[in-house]
């Protein structure tokens, strides 16, 4: 898999220095905007990294994207607009929260379907097993 190897070397080169923190010191309007920026960039994926959010990535592209997001915020664009802008260019892959659409239904509803099935099973088990007047009168130590 030579191309893969080369690509790995390339990924290294893109400045994905593994554990160097990304710090930008952008001139935010106020603290609220800074918090909004932090929350937003936490929900976005650094595309060239292994598995890092945009907020912490030191990759060049991540820096560019952070700056772009910062500028769009100054221009008064909403979080949803900024996310859409990124999705148009990079696809759903940039979102750490996959959108609710048919291909992701299993992801979002699967756990609750399982919960419903499990709750049904537990309900049947308890119905069959639990008795209204089970044995009483164990001494306290029976507990432990």
């Amino acid at each position: 898999m030579k191309p893969v190897l080369r690509w790995a070397a390339l990924a290294l080169l893109l400045g994905v220095a593994l554990a160097a923190t990304a710090i930008d010191a952008l001139p935010f309007k106020d603290a609220a905007q800074e918090v909004r920026f932090q929350n937003l960039t936490r929900q976005l994926r650094c595309l060239v990294c292994q598995n890092e959010d945009l907020s912490d990535s030191n990759a060049k592209l991540a820096q560019d994207l952070r700056y772009e997001i910062f500028q769009q915020m100054q221009a008064g664009r909403s979080n949803a607009q900024i996310k859409q802008w990124l999705v148009d260019r990079y696809g759903d892959y940039v979102l750490y929260k996959p959108p609710l659409k048919p291909s992701n239904y299993a992801l979002w509803f699967g756990p609750f379907v399982l919960l419903a099935i499990g709750a049904g099973g537990v309900g049947i088990y308890l119905r069959r097993r639990a008795q209204p007047q089970a044995a009483t009168g164990f001494d306290e130590d029976e507990d432990w």
Binding site: R6, W7, A9, L10, L13, L65, E68, Y90
Partner: protein
């Protein structure tokens, strides 16, 4: 029967893992398909590397298909790819536009002087701002854009003779151009 449910779920998982291993050995895991395929290329207007006062833009390139190759002097894989471009670039029968990505002009000029220049034209995107609109996330990347300005194909990572013959050539032939490369 009920007791076999965990086993069945587990076997499905093993199947999924087997697939995953196969997928990983045949695909580049970090590769993300571009949502721009089949869509118009973003508007772009960039200075020429050799003549920074002049520029090239999307409108000027309309009317015939072209290839946009993203490279940079700081990119090792681009140096790997370069001999392939040197060998095939002139024979593709479409303009090969070099897209110098996040580079210093002097570095790029020196790099091209050293490795050779296979490009019809070279544009420079020093800030990388326009590249974001193309969905560029590294170098090298290669785009095939048709006469109407639609992005037909994107390749992430170095072009190889194999990629050119298998992926690029059929698409060029479909566009009605006459590359001198044979399959």
């Amino acid at each position: 029967m009920k007791l076999y449910v965990p086993l069945a779920i587990f076997l499905a998982l093993v199947g999924l893992f087997g697939f995953g291993l196969w997928w990983n050995s045949t695909h580049i895991p970090t590769l993300v398909p571009s949502p721009l395929i089949g869509k118009p290329a973003p508007d772009w207007k960039l200075p020429l590397l050799y003549h920074p006062r002049q520029s090239l833009d999307k409108a000027q390139m309309l009317g015939r298909p072209y290839i946009l190759n993203v490279f940079a002097s700081w990119c090792f894989a681009c140096a790997d790819e370069h001999p392939v471009l040197m060998a095939y670039g002139r024979d593709l029968d479409v303009p090969l536009i070099g897209y110098d990505y996040k580079d210093k002009r002097g570095d790029a000029l020196a790099w091209l002087a050293k490795h050779g220049d296979p490009y019809t034209q070279v544009v420079a995107d020093e800030s990388g701002r326009t590249a974001i609109n193309f969905g560029v996330y590294g170098a090298p990347e290669t785009y095939l854009i048709d006469a109407r300005g639609i992005i037909l194909w994107k390749h992430i990572g170095p072009l190889t003779p194999h990629v050119i013959r298998e992926d690029l050539l059929p698409r060029l032939l479909k566009l009605g151009v006459h590359p001198k490369v044979t399959t």
